[in-house]
Each structure stands twice: as structure tokens, then as C-alpha cells.
């Protein structure tokens, strides 16, 4: 369970299994408040991944002897 313990400036402090970690507040919905329980779903962006890979590999090709 992920719960917003508090906000510290631009950081949200999230409680997860009784411990905490920081998440930029900008990633949370605007209405999120202290004490709100969060539901997180993470998906892989295949398109952007491929794009990034291409970009970095281009840069590597340029630099590697």
C-alpha cells in the first residue's frame, strides 16, 4: 500500500511497507492530499524506449573509436 505521509516542498513523502521514499509532487494528481492512498500503474513506453535507444546509439557510434 502506498500512502502520502506528507509533502515537503516539491517532494511528496510516500509510505510504502512502513518505510518512506520521495516522489516529485509534480508526478501526483493535483488533488492528491496527505493521507491519500495511491494506486500506481506503470507501463513500458516501447516507442520512446526505441527512440531513446536509437538516439544514444547514434551518439555512441559517433564517439567510439
Amino acid at each position: 500500500m502506498l500512502v502520502i505521509d506528507r509533502f515537503e516542498g516539491e517532494m511528496a513523502v510516500i509510505e510504502y511497507n512502513g518505510r518512506t521514499f520521495n516522489l516529485p509532487r509534480s508526478l501526483l494528481p493535483a488533488e492528491a492530499k496527505e493521507g491519500d492512498v495511491l494506486r500506481v500503474s506503470i507501463t513500458v513506453d516501447k516507442e520512446q524506449t526505441a527512440e531513446r535507444k536509437k538516439k544514444i546509439e547514434c551518439l555512441m557510434d559517433e564517439l567510439f573509436e
Binding site: D5, F7, E10, E15, G18, T20, N22, L23, G35
Partner: protein, 471 residues
């Protein structure tokens, strides 16, 4: 698992990736640590300080030497005239306050001359056994009063373990709920011990034995937007010496304490909210008029605590500052007449390069670099709620992440990223019900910010350096 983590890292957008990296790193650490919540186990029986390898926010924590006599600093506190003339019970014995180094959190032990003990907050979740061991080292067998200032994890985290580990008299909490497991654990620890909770609110007196007065001066109301303002604030008076423990009380609660007319004057101030700019308003600081301030804060914390404007205010008021991030556990002793610290006061500008602390001199934060120094608040229309900021220099200045602060109300506006004032250009920041955005005009809020009876405006750059102040 590794495969899952690798896939998790490949996500959209740079900001999300950063955040998810944090999340993934956290999950990884949890897995590496076997997801064991040691705070729920019984603390070890030995009395040595424990080293803990905790997650994310905290690194290693070890309670520093309880008393470093070679660094002892003795300062006589002036007797308050009123107190001299008033009749006082005979003062005997010492009162000791231990600001335990629990990183970016609060945990304070107060040993009273009567032999009673008060524990104010218990550090983070992972600090439970550290706090318990430290208390045992100090000979604590019973906690007569346990105060959880407010339900945030960095204050009540270790209290459940402390309550399980000692005989406990009374428990005081503000009557405000929180949905975290941490808060539930605290309530269950209280329940399992067959204890009840005394509501912490202004006016509640603690029966701490003869010679010492202990009274809560906040919270004075309820329904705050932020849990911090529910903080129980404890005023302690022993002989002619006094202490104020503010939890995370912010500007709103501070102004309520002032309005309620409590005697807030104290020799030692536990600075509110780890030195955040959300607390320690000028009016409050003036009412407390501390000689010494203690900031309970973690080294290199992610929130920039203590904020430089708070340190600047304390320096300007001539207050000697002690910090757990620089000095470890801080022990203060009062014999009812004088106050002794086990450490020397910290240098004022810890972050400033080349600042020598050897002579103990106090320097106030100076305006930032030349380019940002060209940006000034040139006018504040208090009634119309319009602040005008001008770039008087010959180069454009990026003020992303800068902050505009209304000093009286201690409200703060952060300039969004990409805010640039061209050379010679002006920018307005408007607030109030009729606030409207426009070219070179940013809306702070629809609320009214500026106090028409006078309210200085202060501009800080992204590093928290004071750039301009307008009065």
C-alpha cells in the same frame, strides 16, 4: 526480479524516469533488506548504540557521544525580572534535554528533576530501537509522558517501539487522523499496552512534579490543511530557564499561539519543522526571543532543511544555533538558573565555502551573485495585491525556482520553470480574488496574501539566497 526492475526502468519521460528510478531503487532496497520491519520486533537487550542500515532517506545513524565535556559551553541566562519578583518554589536538581540525532526527524528526551521522563516524538520508523537504546543508556526505565506531536512518520515513526519497550504513563496526541501504517502501528501499540490517549491541545498541563511547569500551547484549533499545524507544542519552565518544543508547527499555528496570548518566551527554541521556511515567522521568533535554537535535521536531506532564510532570521536575531546534522545528539542541561550545552554552537553559514567558524562570529546571508542581484522587488501594492519585480541589469535573468515570500504571513510563491525576465523588463505577481494572468503577469493564488497593515516581500533565488527585500 531483476528482469522486472529492468523493465520498470524503461518508462516514459525524463521526470517520470527519475521518480521511478527512486521507486525502483527503493523496491530493490526493500527486497535486498528482505522487507523485514525491524521496528516491530523487540529491541535488542544490550545498551549499546545501534548502527542501522536503513533505506532511501537515512543512511547510517548512530547516536553520538551523550556528553562531550571538552566542548562544554556554559552560558548564564539572565534572570527574568518578573520571575525574580514572583514567588517561586525552591529549585533543586537538574533538567536535561536530549535532542537525539535521528537524522531527518525529531526525537527528544526530557529528564525532569522529579525523576520523571518525557519523550517528545520518536524519530523515523527505523529509529525505534535506536531511540530505545539511547533512552536505556540514559537510565530511562519509565516514560511518564509520551508526546507524538503530529502523525507524520518522521515524528511518530519510532514511538510504537518506545511504547512497547518502556512502562508508559500518559500518551498525548493531537486528535487528527492519518491513514498510514505508521500511525496505525502507533495506535495499536497504545491499545496493546492497555493505554488511552490524552488529546494534545493548547492549555493541557502535564503533571511533571514540583518545580517544573509543562503546558501545551498548541494546537489552538483544528481542521488545518497541513498536518504539521496540528503539532503539539510544549512549553517547559524550570526556575528561570525555559524551553519551547514546536514539533512542525507552521506559520498558521504560530500566529494562533501569538493570538492566544501564551507566554512563548523561551531560552531554548526547538526550531519548527526542521528549520523549514514554513515556520519561524518573524513575529513568532520575536515573541520567543530565544538565546539558543536547536534544529533537528538530517545531513544532506532532500528538502533543503534547514532553509537558509530560517538560519538568516536566527542569525539576525543573534540566536546561537545547534544542529543535529552537524553536531549529532545535543544535550542541554538546566539547573533552573543557567543553561549548559554539551556542544559548541554551529557556524551560521554551514554551506558557505570558506566560512570559518573558529571565532564563532555570526554572518547573515548576503545577496546572491551579481546577475541575480540585478533583479529587485520595486513595488508591492498591498491593497491591490500586486508585486512588481524588475530586472535592472543588462542581461536576461532566469528566475525559475526562485521564491517570493510574504514575510508577515510566511506564504511563499515559487516561480515556475522557464520564467525569465528580459534585461530591463518587469514581471508582476498578482494575488487575491481578482487576480488575472496576463503578459508579464503571474497569478500567485486567488487567496489574499499581503497584509495591508504592512508586509515586507522577500525574493530568494533557487538556492535560497536572499536577492531582494521590499518594505
Amino acid at each position: 526480479m531483476a528482469d522486472m526492475l529492468a523493465r520498470l526502468v524503461k518508462v516514459t519521460g525524463p521526470a517520470k524516469r527519475f521518480a521511478l528510478f527512486t521507486l525502483v531503487a527503493f523496491i530493490f532496497m526493500m527486497v535486498a533488506a528482505g522487507c523485514v520491519s525491524s521496528s516491530l520486533n523487540n529491541p535488542p537487550a544490550d545498551n549499546t548504540a545501534v548502527e542501522q542500515n536503513t533505506s532511501v532517506q537515512q543512511k547510517e545513524k548512530q547516536v553520538s557521544e551523550p556528553f562531550a565535556s571538552q566542548e562544554e559551553q556554559r552560558v548564564e541566562t539572565a534572570l527574568n525580572k518578573q520571575e525574580v519578583s514572583g514567588e517561586k518554589p525552591a529549585v533543586s536538581g537538574t533538567l536535561k534535554v536530549y535532542f537525539i540525532d535521528v537524522g531527518q526527524a525529531d526525537a527528544i528526551l526530557i529528564k525532569l528533576p522529579s525523576g520523571q521522563n518525557i519523550l517528545v516524538d520518536g524519530g523515523n520508523n527505523d529509529d525505534g530501537s535506536l531511540v530505545v537504546n539511547y533512552l536505556k543508556q540514559q537510565g530511562v526505565k519509565r516514560l511518564d509522558h509520551v508526546i507524538g506531536t503530529h502523525p507524520h512518520e518522521d515524528h511518530i515513526g519510532g514511538l510504537d517501539v518506545a511504547i512497547k519497550s518502556f512502562e508508559v504513563g500518559k500518551v498525548y496526541l493531537p486528535r487528527v487522523s492519518h491513514t498510514t501504517k505508521t500511525y496505525e502501528d502507533l495506535l495499536l501499540a497504545i491499545k496493546n499496552k492497555g493505554l488511552r490517549v490524552t488529546q494534545a491541545k493548547a492549555g493541557v498541563k502535564l503533571d511533571v512534579g514540583p518545580g517544573v511547569e509543562a503546558v501545551l500551547v498548541a494546537p489552538n484549533s483544528s481542521g488545518y490543511e497541513d498536518l504539521n499545524n496540528n503539532s503539539a507544542v510544549l512549553k517547559l519552565k524550570y526556575g528561570s530557564t525555559s524551553f519551547l518544543f514546536t514539533g512542525d508547527a507552521e506559520a498558521e499555528s504560530e500566529s494562533e499561539m501569538l493570538r492566544a496570548g501564551y507566554d512563548l518566551k523561551a531560552d531554548v527554541l526547538k526550531v519548527g519543522h526542521h528549520g523549514s521556511h514554513s515556520s519561524t515567522t518573524p513575529a513568532f521568533l520575536k515573541a520567543v526571543s530565544p538565546k539558543y535554537a536547536v534544529v533537528s535535521v538530517g545531513k544532506g536531506n532532500d528538502y533543503g532543511h534547514p532553509h537558509s532564510e530560517t538560519l538568516a532570521k536566527l542569525a539576525a536575531a543573534g540566536v546561537q544555533v545547534f544542529r543535529t546534522d552537524l553536531q549529532g545528539t545535543i544535550v542541554v542541561t538546566s539547573d533552573g538558573k543557567s543553561i549548559t550545552f554539551n556542544k559548541k554552537a554551529s557556524p551560521v553559514k554551514e554551506r558557505a565555502p570558506g566560512t570559518s567558524s573558529s571565532n564563532g562570529s555570526i554572518s547573515v546571508a548576503l545577496p546572491a551573485s551579481a546577475s541575480s542581484g540585478d533583479v529587485k522587488i520595486v513595488g508591492i501594492d498591498l491593497g491591490g495585491e500586486v508585486v512588481t519585480i524588475k530586472n535592472t541589469g543588462s542581461k536576461k535573468v532566469d528566475i525559475s525556482g526562485w521564491r517570493l515570500v510574504s514575510e508577515t504571513g510566511n506564504q511563499s510563491f515559487t516561480f515556475p520553470s522557464g520564467t525569465v525576465i528580459p534585461a530591463g523588463g518587469t514581471l508582476r505577481v498578482v494575488s487575491g480574488r481578482n487576480a488575472q494572468a496576463g503578459p508579464d503577469t503571474l497569478v500567485w493564488t486567488r487567496k489574499y496574501i499581503w497584509n495591508n497593515d504592512g508586509d515586507p516581500g522577500v525574493l530568494y533565488d533557487a538556492q535560497g539566497n536572499l536577492v531582494s527585500r521590499y518594505q
